[in-house]
């Protein structure tokens, strides 16, 4: 019952967020230089032709009219059609979404699977060889740009040793390298937080009490300390996941993947107003959903945190 009330509250907050976000993006893309009619017609287009294109796109009407119409249509979950391809924005996004989702999930999994065990190991064996190795790897992971890592992975694992395809995602194998280059970067960030969080928890008094109870050290680490240490890890992982769901522009470029990142990037290049607006609203929704899930996980991990 409480949960329903809580969910309703969150939905209301999401609607307010969406209103603000879509309003801002509506005006921002119209204020920045660049006219979709000019892009469609080309620089040589005659003024009359441009007028005709503007009339067709509806960009010749007053801003207030356009804005009212925009709000009215998103109220009906209609994001319009792409100015360039004339396809519905919703179906363009939904076509690209599965790939992006798969990449984000894989990237997050790789990140967590590397970062959490290594971070725990680093924290437990502080200032040991393992710890330094973890710290150096995470420093490297954060310093290396993902396009460079992507190219390197391609060079080694697709060209020198052709284990994975160079591009394309016809088989699942095509996802491995891009997910790896996304995941390694997440792992670098998550490892640091896991280590710091575990070190903090391991210094708490309840750890002394657990030892005084005669529990084995593994149980103390992986049950008592880790459950408490998960809180900041969930926060960071949630934020990272949200970003990845909005599309990974660089990784998609390097691996020539048709994900959301490139869709939105080209939409901005081409001043494809409806697609940009749809994309921004979509990302805002995704972020809210991911946050909601992270908050639910929070209350499971730490019962002290109540959903309010």
């Amino acid at each position: 019952m409480n949960l329903v009330k809580y969910a309703a509250k969150r939905v209301l907050r999401l609607i307010i967020t969406l209103f603000i976000v879509s309003t801002i993006i509506f005006f921002v893309i119209r204020v920045i230089p660049g006219d979709p009619a000019l892009i469609i017609g080309g620089v040589d287009a005659k003024p009359a032709d441009l007028e005709a294109i503007r009339a067709r796109l509806g960009t010749d009407r007053p801003l207030s009219t356009q804005y009212a119409e925009f709000l009215w249509s998103i109220l009906h979950l209609d994001f319009g059609r792409s100015m360039i391809s004339d396809e519905p924005v919703t179906s363009l996004i939904l076509q690209r979404f599965p790939l992006t989702l798969a990449l984000a999930v894989l990237g997050l999994l790789i990140g967590i699977l590397i970062a959490v065990p290594l971070g725990v190991l680093s924290a437990v064996k502080r200032w040991s060889g393992w710890d330094y190795l973890g710290l150096v790897l995470s420093q490297l992971g954060m310093a290396i740009p993902s396009f460079w890592l992507g190219i390197l992975l391609l060079l080694v694992l697709a060209i020198r040793f052709p284990i994975f395809p160079l591009f394309g995602v016809d088989s699942g194998a095509g996802l491995v390298l891009p997910a790896l280059s996304l995941g390694l970067a997440r792992a670098a960030i998550l490892l640091r937080h896991t280590r710091a969080s575990m070190i903090e928890e391991l210094s708490k008094e309840y750890i002394v009490a657990a030892r005084a109870k005669g529990l084995p050290e593994t149980l103390i680490r992986y049950k008592h300390a880790l459950k408490n240490a998960l809180l900041p890890i969930i926060t960071i992982a949630g934020i990272e996941f949200g970003y990845m769901l909005g599309g990974a522009i660089i990784v998609e470029q390097v691996f020539s993947l048709p994900g959301l990142g490139r869709l939105f990037l080209y939409a901005i290049y081409q001043r494809d107003f409806p697609l940009i607006q749809g994309g921004v609203v979509f990302i805002a929704v995704i972020f809210s959903v991911v946050n909601f899930v992270a908050d639910m996980l929070y209350s499971i991990v730490n019962p002290k945190i109540r959903l309010e």
Binding site: R211, G214, L219, N302, K304
Partner: protein, 329 residues
């Protein structure tokens, strides 16, 4: 009391640690004999080495910082200090249990009280989940938390501080330990709760015939619960005897001064005595008595020669060259 063999014997325990690159002495000779079915109070000011003594018994000194120098801790005649970590672990929680000062911090916030009792039982008694659960329920009823299972399913933050301390006691006695170390268990509680917890500990001790080491800086609490008392000063036990003798006829000037610093209704209107001077610096290693610099009756001998901790009268140990004169202070 003294007739039986002691359960735990601590002899000449010395522990030191590194502080800012210099060595500091945490314990400079602790001798305590602990018996079953007896509450042994350990009293001293903060930093005097009470908790370090307790942690030494269960083998939980912080590894990097503290170095065990010498001494012996025997449990039923067998040396504990040379045991492996794995052997010590089988003692902890099952034979020797511990409760702490702030139950809010020493209970894990992420697990229910029931789970924190069950895991201890399952670790040491090899019971399955449902047996452990039944036992946890009985234990909670025993410490006065009811047997309707409500506390079993509660998280620590849902309990009041008195209930948390009761829950911690339930965990500690869950495997029927022979010995319980209580490190200032009532210090963070108000007076009413303090009295309730003391009564509970006393009842449990009588029921289970446990030995208890009750650590406190508060002599009035010690007077209420202890059968026997050891007074610790600057990492050294300076006096040890029965609670009645200690309060009636102290044989160490430090104890005498401590007793005079307790507020007493009968001495209303008089100034409370405070002990002049400062606690011995942990880095110092004097050849004389550790208390001599603050002692009002110190003489030349006290600065030259460290007094041995010996029985001056039947069942009354003191480390003072002039133990017989202390009560006159």
């Amino acid at each position: 009391m003294g007739a039986a063999e002691p359960l735990i014997v601590i002899e000449n325990l010395r522990v030191e640690f590194a502080q800012d690159g210099q060595r500091a002495i945490a314990l400079r000779g602790v001798d305590i004999s602990l018996y079953k079915n007896e509450v042994h109070g350990l009293v001293g000011e903060s930093g005097s080495g009470k908790t370090i003594t307790a942690m030494s018994i269960v083998g939980l000194l912080p590894r990097q910082a503290l170095k065990l120098l010498s001494g012996s801790i025997r449990y039923e005649g067998r040396e504990l200090l040379s045991r492996s970590e794995e052997e010590l672990r089988s003692y902890r929680g099952s034979k020797i249990a511990m409760i702490f000062q702030e139950p809010a911090k020493y209970l894990n916030p992420a697990f229910t009280v029931g789970e924190q009792i069950r895991e201890t039982i399952r670790e040491h008694m090899g019971l399955d989940r449902s047996q452990a659960n039944a036992r946890a329920r009985e234990l909670l009823a025993l410490v006065g938390l009811g047997n309707d299972g409500r506390v079993l399913a509660a998280y620590p933050h849902e309990l009041s501080s008195g209930m948390k301390q009761r829950a911690m006691i339930a965990i500690a006695i869950s495997c029927n330990p022979d010995f319980l170390i209580a490190d200032e268990p009532t210090t963070s509680l108000d007076v009413t709760l303090q009295a309730q917890i003391l009564k509970l500990l006393r009842t449990l001790k009588d029921m289970k015939k446990m030995g208890v080491l009750f650590i406190s800086h508060d002599l009035s609490v010690i007077k209420e619960i202890a059968d026997r008392v050891s007074v610790i000063y600057a990492g050294k036990i300076v006096e040890s005897t029965s609670v009645t003798r200690l309060f009636g006829h102290p044989m160490h000037p430090y104890t005498r001064l401590l007793l005079m610093s307790i507020p007493d209704a009968r001495r209303k209107g008089r100034r409370l005595a405070a002990i002049a001077g400062q606690v011995l610096d942990a880095r110092a290693d004097p050849q004389g008595c550790v208390f001599a610099p603050r002692c009002p009756m110190a003489r030349d001998l006290c600065f030259k020669e460290s007094p041995t901790f010996i029985a001056h009268e039947q069942d009354h140990m003191s480390a003072c060259h002039f133990a017989e004169e202390a009560w006159k202070l």
